[in-house]
């Protein structure tokens, strides 16, 4: 399919039909217009079915039983690990640690890797567009280990300033951690180039893929990063599960994070020994059904016409920008050349919370606030923004509803 071509209505209608919640109405009686996919995605029927099917016919604990049901569950769980690994381009499932979310994965790398290799005075390089999950764990570590945190600034468009990035990198940089896609600006960062640049000074790279995985194709082998994290609940799958991809030599040298059952080799009264990765980092009973449902979400995505999905999202993004630009009092933050359909904006007169309430009364679910990116808002010098974030299950009528809500708001506040 070529750019500017449109995607057939029936395609879009089918995608929407796959998501049961899109058939519901809000308290105001209006049909739900869900524009908050960056906070959490909706779930297709295929994922609900995977959950129900597992619990109704395959449920058992994994890695521990000899009986058939436990074997089935273990196979389903481990083959889900393979599916998830494949989806992000990890060549070997052993490089894929299943965590409880992107947040846990970042905390794990900070505690089990960086804490053991950094020296006082070493630098951690972040960017001003990071989510709190990719800031606070590093601040805690920096305080404990006397590290210095630096932040890569933005250019006018809301893209990272790569010249500044180059200058901030030095042989003192032990870790560079940045988001693949901004949850506020929608910017897609040049992660491969940034990784190369970091590696050139000997730094390791962690990429926060929480917003990228649901929106764009991810290939960790191609990016060649050291660590990559993501959350299932943003990828059309259940809450309670996430991933950490790690380079095998790094995972191998990392000390355990949480400890307990499943990650041990032997436990004696005096001491214990641990399994190799990824098991070493998966203490306790994992989120079994949720992981299996995550693989089902990936299979569902793969069953779609991916070119059509891509094109549809591009069209949505353009339409969204175009329509919003029709409001002179509205300022969009983030015009990077490469971005996903996530748009945050402020209004000269109307506060984001008031806007969100008025939109809600029209059935339109948008987020207002700092979107877990207070430093970015400080940097942009706005206390809060309103964010509309779209997925492939949205369509032009959703954008119409947003625009209508904005008109009502401006009328009310006129």
């Amino acid at each position: 399919m070529k750019e500017n071509e449109s995607v057939s209505e029936s395609h879009i209608a089918q995608w929407r039909a796959d998501f049961p919640i899109l058939r519901t109405s809000t308290q105001s009686g209006k049909p739900l217009v869900y524009l908050d996919s960056a906070a959490t995605s909706q779930k297709p029927q295929a994922v609900l079915d995977a959950l129900t099917q597992f619990y109704a016919s395959e449920n058992a604990n994994v890695h521990r039983g000899i009986y058939g049901l436990s074997e089935l569950a273990t196979d389903a769980y481990e083959s889900s690990r393979r599916t998830i690994a494949e989806f992000i381009g990890s060549c070997y499932p052993d490089q894929l640690v299943l965590t409880h979310g992107a947040t846990e994965a970042i905390n794990m790398v900070a505690a089990s890797y960086v804490a053991t290799v950094c020296k006082p005075g070493d630098e951690i390089l972040l960017t001003v567009m990071e989510h709190h999950a990719n800031i606070v764990p590093w601040q805690m570590l920096a305080e404990e280990k006397e590290l210095i945190i630096r932040y890569v600034p933005l250019d006018e468009s809301g893209a990272l300033d790569l010249e500044a990035y180059a200058k901030l990198l030095s042989d003192k940089t032990c870790m560079v951690a940045f988001t693949h896609v901004s949850n506020v600006l929608g910017t897609i960062n040049p992660v491969k180039t940034m990784t190369e640049m970091a590696h050139a000074v000997g730094a390791k790279v962690l990429i926060d893929g929480a917003q990228a995985c649901p929106q764009i194709a991810v290939d960790v082998s191609l990016i060649d990063c050291d660590f990559y994290v993501a959350s299932a609940h943003k990828c059309y799958a259940p809450s309670g599960v996430g991933l950490l991809y790690g380079r095998p030599d790094l995972l191998e040298m990392m000390r355990p994070y949480q400890t307990g059952g499943s990650m041990i080799e032997t436990v004696e009264f005096e001491r214990s020994t641990f399994l190799p990765p990824p098991m070493r980092f998966e203490a306790g009973t994992p989120a079994i059904a949720e992981t299996i449902a995550w693989a089902a979400a990936f299979r569902y995505l793969q069953s779609l016409d991916l070119d059509a999905v891509r094109l549809h999202k591009l069209n949505l993004q353009r339409l969204l920008h175009d329509r919003l630009q029709g409001f002179p009092k509205l300022k969009i933050h983030g015009h990077a050349e490469k971005k996903v359909p996530v748009v945050s904006f402020t209004h000269e007169v109307i506060h984001p919370h008031d806007l969100a309430t008025i939109l809600d009364s029209e059935g339109v679910a948008v987020r207002a606030g700092h979107h877990c990116a207070m430093p970015l808002h400080r940097y942009l010098d706005v206390p809060a923004t309103t964010r509309a974030s779209l997925s492939f299950y949205n369509d032009a009528t959703d954008i119409d509803a947003l625009v209508k809500g904005l008109e009502i708001a401006e009328e009310l506040f006129a």
Binding site: V349, I350, H351, P352, H353, D354, T357, I358, S361, A368, G369, H370, M374, H377, P383, A384, L412, F413
Partner: protein, 161 residues
């Protein structure tokens, strides 16, 4: 009048846009801040007491917030000028009853007998429109909680969620 219209009545929009007593004094005996970590809003209340240590001598506020929180703060400011803590509690109690959906008869409240008091409290009535928007009630009460902290002499920042 829809719920939305009841929420954004002219009084709210007016006070939201042109808050009264909106200024930061050079020196204030008390500077109390209310912060909502989930949305990033912040309201400072500044207060000096008269020599009797009871009457609010200078009362003003600054801050970033939505129309509801700024208007509510502004209406509170107007109502509390030169009043004391007992009066504040009466007013806060009145607001809470309104927010709980009660139809309060102003003439039954002794504290509000002066025509000016009654006019102030009538205006405060419009804040009750927020009761149909539970997620916004914290916006409407933010300044009031801060004022309570002022009166109680606390110095810790107040948080609402």
């Amino acid at each position: 009048m829809t719920n939305l219209q009841a929420l954004y009545q002219q009084v709210i929009l007016d006070h939201g846009r042109n808050p009264r007593h909106f200024s930061q004094p050079e020196h204030a005996q008390i500077d109390q801040v209310c912060f909502n970590p989930l949305c990033g809003d912040k309201i400072h209340v500044y207060c000096d007491y008269a020599v009797d240590r009871k009457t609010f001598q200078a009362l003003s506020f600054t801050g970033d917030g939505c129309a509801i929180s700024v208007a509510s703060a502004s209406l509170m400011m107007v109502a509390l000028q030169k009043k004391d803590s007992a009066y504040f509690y009466e007013a806060f109690d009145y607001l809470k009853r309104l927010l709980a959906g009660e139809a309060v008869d102003l003439s039954t409240i002794d504290a509000f007998s002066a025509p000016e008091d009654i006019a102030n409290m009538r205006r405060i009535q419009v804040i009750a429109g927020v009761k149909n928007f539970p997620m916004r009630v914290k916006c409407a009460t933010c300044a009031w909680h801060t004022m309570a902290a002022v009166v109680e002499g606390g110095s810790e920042p107040i948080k609402t969620e």
